[in-house]
């Protein structure tokens, strides 16, 4: 069983050792340009096109993350009929919930403003926000969105949810489709985006949609950079229609030096770390899926190329 691997930021030796120990008979090798040797499976993160293009011997491609947008950019070059499978949760859901909860509590309890005060040596109690007037809107109601919702429900926030197709989630006011988007936005004081990047979601957070949020709202993007038009966000921050934003993803990553986003005091920035791949949990999940495929059983997480996730 030959397994091709490509994920340059990971500890390749540790992956090989752990994968081969949980999946007896597997032999993992790190793909190098020009490697056209036989392979049964590919484990990839943002793989170069030449690694997968026209490789007809593999039985499946496993994407080491939730978003498959980097691979679908060259979908026509992918070997036809080979399933593309994405990680579902594997420790990412809880990380997303931590990130979102931290950012929401920060704005709800005005900890960002208290920090600014403290740096100036100011002791002053700020008027607290009212929970009932602080509904959180989650864009994207898949595994990650639902895990975030669970965490925010623990703190009793009112929750709105929006998805492409209608969904029902206990305790969540659900909206869907293009028709539901504006009302969803107008009722959400904090917007959290966890949508997959597809042609439909590219630029979905723009001047028009973000203006639908109530005056004094907050934006948290932990999905993909190209979903947010950064210039539009800056404009709405300047007008104080949006009070503050937390961004983990950017149109360009690493985010370029000297940009207005770096300097902006009301934008909290992290370098695409909201959910990191958890090696052991991911390896266990993939090994189980490969073993199921070998037995001819169906597996979860199959990507629908037309939907884009």
């Amino acid at each position: 069983m030959h397994i091709l691997f490509h994920s340059p930021d990971e500890d390749e030796k540790a992956w090989k050792e752990e994968l081969e120990s949980v999946f007896p008979g597997a032999q993992m090798r790190v793909w190098q340009p020009g490697d056209n040797g036989p392979a049964d499976y590919a484990l990839v993160w943002v793989p170069p096109k030449e690694m997968l293009a026209h490789r007809t011997d593999i039985k499946a491609i496993f994407n080491l993350g939730a978003g498959v947008d980097a691979i679908l950019r060259y979908r026509d070059a992918l070997p036809p009929g080979v399933p593309l499978i994405r990680i579902s949760d594997a420790g990412m859901g809880i990380q997303m919930a931590e990130y979102a909860t931290h950012a929401v509590l920060r704005y709800f309890r005005r900890f960002d403003e208290y920090e600014t005060q403290a740096r100036a040596g100011i002791w002053n109690e700020l008027k607290p926000h009212v929970r009932e007037e602080f509904p959180i809107g989650i864009l994207g109601l898949g595994v990650l969105g639902q895990r975030i919702i669970k965490a925010l429900q623990h703190f009793e926030f009112p929750i709105n949810g929006w998805s492409r197709t209608p969904k029902e989630i206990p305790g969540v006011r659900c909206y869907s489709g293009k028709d539901g988007l504006d009302e969803f936005l107008s009722k959400s004081r904090v917007l959290i985006c966890v949508l997959p990047l597809t042609p439909e979601t590219t630029g979905i957070l723009n001047e028009r949609t973000l203006s639908k949020l109530p005056q004094g709202s907050y934006v948290i993007n932990i999905a993909r950079g190209p979903e947010l038009i950064e210039e539009d966000l800056l404009h709405l921050l300047d007008k104080r229609h949006i009070m503050a934003a937390t961004l983990d993803v950017f149109q360009q990553e690493p985010h370029p030096k000297g940009s207005r986003l770096w300097g902006h005091p009301r934008i909290t920035k992290t370098p695409h770390i909201a959910a990191l791949t958890m090696r052991s949990q991911t390896i266990r999940q993939i090994a189980e899926k490969m073993q199921a495929m070998e037995r001819g059983e169906p597996v979860e997480g199959l990507v629908d190329f037309d939907k884009g996730y």
Copy 2:
């Protein structure tokens, strides 16, 4: 039914209106120096000694918060036999849970360090902490401590708890008494203090006890300022035995200008706002208790003067 009120930071008119509407027959008046007129109950926050001293006509004193240390400072002047009743939760538990969760996630996910990096325009992924190596220790296992534990268990952190007398809480490694303190500390990467201020807890967080925490720990004090020896914390921060601290309470409040704490980049400071009194919830709870007392029924929250809470 005459109710005396003293809590200068609150909106006295709003308290009067709401209290009189939920408790028909009640007449609330704001206490003024020299007011010795008849009163059935007193609702107080940090009341001057002369308000309560030797007032023998009242049936109970209700403290508008969890900590009664300010009243017990002149316990010998309090009318003998008059019960002192403290608020239990009434919206404080969830605020404490929010505050503690925000601070814990901030350290666990290194958001404080990411913010420092971002201010310098640095894009750099930091090595994540491992959840299993990040046990949280809660000092104080009353209503507030247990609400914090519930929130942190939602995020699957290992939890240690310490209390004066032995307790059992599902999923929590419980320690108690003087004998259990050192081991509790040595196993807690983050220390959260919610102990009531008593002679026993004054200065409980000092050079000796804080040194028992593992190298590279974090301290969060949301209880009372005098429980922490601020100079000792500063010393351990300088040695990097303690990595960072979040303080909502201080030996002196408002915290004096120009102190080393204000200037310290690894101390997050807020002006005693971790849990604010929630007017409606507090009024409802107190009205119910007064009505129960009028019917001769027992009420919860009775302060034990010897224990100090």
